[in-house]
Point group: C2
Chain length 372, copies 2
């Protein structure tokens, strides 16, 4: 009979594209006693979590809640609720996650037009405006704020305006930006947005924070067909997260109770630090890391780099896997491999949330010097 | 500015329809340091979790894994992968969850025929056979093993044979039965099955164990259309959970790392107790609880009752909500309200996994005597 050893995962310093290192405080919250999902105490914890999410998203959107799945479930939640078969959509593709949005939306039966640029580059305001002019019937315009596959940091404000001027909904993937980069859902006119918990919020993976504007909710109300996914159907989920007409909470599915504890705690930690301070910390540590990496001769892939995810080319003659294995074995440091066409060509070094410290930046630089 | 108090959920004894009480041992595993989802240590933990799931499902199915969502995500995983638009399906409806299966499958574009019986009753072998004869083109036959809304315990063996004789796939909802009732996936000819972690396994909610037979995987391979859900697409997930052609693990989405720790620990606890002993414990505690409830004059809703979920009529003149509130306030005991047409008419008393003890049975009986 197979024997199973006691669970004893290494205490890694997670400096890849996510998950990021989780604080003991959040892990302790995670391990609090499990409540029932309709327990008044749990309903309050969920309400507070949604209120805290509104703060970090900088939105007044009532329909702001954590989807019961990881980041990709958030992407799917936006797509299945806002698109019906035959709808046209505009999707920006300059990396793996833009490509996934296209795939997810096509599975909803949408006709997807793309605005493309090379991996590592951003989508320019002009390219976006041209595509909007070329496809005026598109119902929505979707773009990735922080492209996790390339480290590119996408400006959003002007593109949002162009999309709105054409009457489109403006959708944003903020999986890797929320809580680590400036992001203002209401001010920037974002109609629907999804994120993950395991990046700058430093909560374990398992939930996907999303937010829908009233305009997006109206589009959902006007649907002619049922949402293809029961699990992700916002028209039913709103009776749980916003309360139904009679003020009660309609049972939809059993939420991941303990994960909600962890997310609430992680969001309280963001609040205690202050969102602006947290964003500034990521900017400052980026400068420190960047200085060190460039001094070692490493070159950044994107011209417009994210602060919290640093995608650099692997130097010629360096064995990708060997370096990452040594970092893991000798330093318990995880950095990320390249994804898709970047596999074997780039590393992705994350400084996210709890892992974004001077200590970690200096350590990863020292460790890289040692193994290179 | 809103103030948030320290997280301090009550230590409830969870005796409703789920989640059930979680042991400290599982909560500790949950709070272990977060690994990356491609870390070799995590891959091993996931492999072990899948192997342990095979034991509890009593199956050799290679494609046995936890879906990254709660039980309803498991239901949706089976439906979206096995059905294409225009396919016919047979679904048994004798409670809330059969009804949901119908809804979920219709959203996949399937033409769903139902085999119905009253809430609380089971589907007879004859009714199933008649429906199979009447709809010979149905691709699959789906049934709920443990109907959480009524407490009915559905026999499966003969119906499985009828479905297979007609060339249909046999699908089972085992959310509330896995680990607490006899359930033999291979022996009983179940082609695809889903469950939850938060019932008899006594792990927090957040994952949905599923298993697909080779025959079911062939049906997925022969699909003419893409699976509507990217997040739940088994043709992609198998490259992560079973490894791809080159032996590697293809990144699909970030799995809920810490939840996997908890599930592994919960499954090891099942193994240490012994699956047969665990099932016997649920049977024994059911007899004890049933004896006490019936001695108090309470009547069971279903003729064929589950052991772990006891659905009884609320006595005439008793205020439903007041009784449940007192149990919660005075005893920290949660029992379940009735669902759908059973709302206000029945209670659901769960004795599941870690909560299925003589101490809890005697306590809930004493508490009910006190408040009634």
């Amino acid at each position: 009979m197979t024997q199973y050893s006691q669970l004893n995962p290494a205490e890694r310093i997670l400096m890849g594209p996510g998950p990021s290192s989780v604080s003991n405080r959040v892990l302790k919250a995670l391990a609090s006693p499990t409540l029932g999902h309709l327990d008044p105490q749990y309903v309050q914890i969920m309400d507070e979590t949604c209120a805290l999410l509104r703060e970090v998203f900088q939105t007044q959107n009532k329909m702001t809640f954590p989807v019961s799945g990881t980041g990709m479930a958030g992407m799917e939640t936006l797509a299945v609720n806002l698109l019906e078969p035959g709808d046209e959509a505009l999707v920006c593709v300059n990396g793996a996650f833009g490509g996934r949005m296209k795939d997810v939306m096509e599975r909803c039966g949408a006709i997807v037009h793309t605005v493309e640029s090379a991996w590592g580059e951003i989508i320019t305001d002009e390219a976006a405006a041209e595509a909007i002019a070329a496809h005026p019937k598109a119902k929505l315009f979707a773009i990735v704020h922080a492209e996790t596959s390339t480290g590119a940091h996408q400006p959003l404000v002007n593109i949002s305006k162009s999309a709105h001027d054409a009457g489109m909904l403006f959708l944003v993937d903020s999986v890797t930006s929320l809580g680590g980069h400036e992001l203002q859902v209401d001010e920037w006119g974002i109609d629907a947005i999804y994120s993950g918990t395991q990046k700058n919020l430093s909560c374990p993976p398992g939930l996907s924070p999303v937010s829908f504007s009233d305009r997006a909710l109206e589009v959902i109300e006007e649907r002619k067909t049922k949402v293809k996914s029961w699990y992700l159907d916002v028209s039913m989920l709103r009776d749980y997260y916003m309360g139904n007409a009679s003020g009660g909470r309609a049972y939809h599915h059993t939420a991941p109770i303990n994960m909600t504890y962890a997310l609430r705690e992680a969001l309280i930690m963001v609040r205690e630090e202050g969102l602006e301070n947290r964003i500034a910390r990521h900017a400052e540590m980026h400068q420190r890391l960047r200085g060190g990496l460039e001094a070692m001769g490493l070159k950044y892939v994107p011209l417009h780099s994210l602060h919290n995810l640093n995608c650099v080319y692997i130097p010629d003659g360096t064995e990708d896997a060997a370096v990452r294995s040594r970092l893991l074995a000798e330093y318990d440091i995880e950095i990320g491999a390249g994804l898709g066409p970047m596999a074997g060509k780039a590393w992705r070094i994350g400084i996210m949330g709890h892992a974004c410290t001077k200590r970690n930046v200096d350590l990863v630089l020292a460790a890289l010097k040692e193994v290179l």
